[in-house]
């Protein structure tokens, strides 16, 4: 289960809406499985069908997390024309076994789908999301 504050959810959704129709991506850093610090990342691909963190930005952010004893608790990205479910490419490149992979879909103008998954060894497991104030 992913427990996440409404404030962080709003920030993720706002980022996804702002970058639509391109995919948006980023990290919520935290400790002990608690997502705390919102870190929007640049989508180096600037694409409606693909995302990739910029490699230099990733190094900087990963070092910063290391220095603060944080980990990427959540790795999020948006789908802009399809449902909020991991694509085959998402599964192929999933490389953080401990992260919650959050998918947001902005295909509907008025409603945003927000779902979370574990992706491990090629297997997708959806998990419940608990929104807290």
């Amino acid at each position: 289960m992913l427990t996440i504050s409404q404030e962080l959810v709003d920030k993720i959704v706002a980022h996804a809406r702002a970058d639509h129709p391109d995919e948006a991506c980023g990290v919520i850093a935290g400790r002990d499985g608690v997502p705390e610090r919102f870190v929007p990342m640049e989508n180096a691909e600037r694409s409606p069908t693909f995302y990739r963190f910029d490699s230099m930005e990733q190094l900087r952010v990963w070092r910063e997390m290391d220095d603060r004893d944080e980990v990427p608790v959540v790795i999020y990205h948006s789908h802009t024309a399809t449902e909020a479910y991991p694509s085959r490419t998402d599964v192929t490149y999933a490389s953080e076994p401990d992260a919650h992979y959050v998918l947001v879909s902005t295909r509907d103008e008025d409603e945003t789908e927000f779902r979370s998954y574990r992706i491990l060894d090629g297997a997708i497991t959806e998990e419940e999301v608990r929104f807290v104030p």
Partner: protein, 90 residues
């Protein structure tokens, strides 16, 4: 002295859980071969058909080695090599 290689979570199964290990070599290619002899299996996760895997980022100190010389990048004692799997998808 040696070269410190920082290992991401997903590859720590090869290093008995260690976050960083030491290795030696004059180039990144040699360093990875030395790493393989110490931690068998790890090379295949970094290199594919003689090139760095496309979705693995390798940094020499503060630079992405793709912008240096790839596997031919010279390395020396005291350097830090950081491996980070690219965060990507569709």
């Amino acid at each position: 002295m040696a070269i410190e290689v920082r290992i991401p979570t997903i590859l720590r199964t090869y290093t008995a859980g260690a976050k960083a290990v030491d290795a030696e070599g004059a180039t990144l290619d040699e360093l990875i071969s030395n790493l393989e002899s110490l931690h068998p299996g790890i090379k295949d996760r970094l290199v594919d058909q003689g090139n760095l895997r496309r979705f693995v980022n390798v940094y020499l100190n503060d630079e992405d080695v793709r912008f240096l010389g790839g596997l031919g990048t010279p390395v020396s004692d005291g350097d830090t090599v950081t491996v980070l799997p690219a965060v990507a998808g569709g």
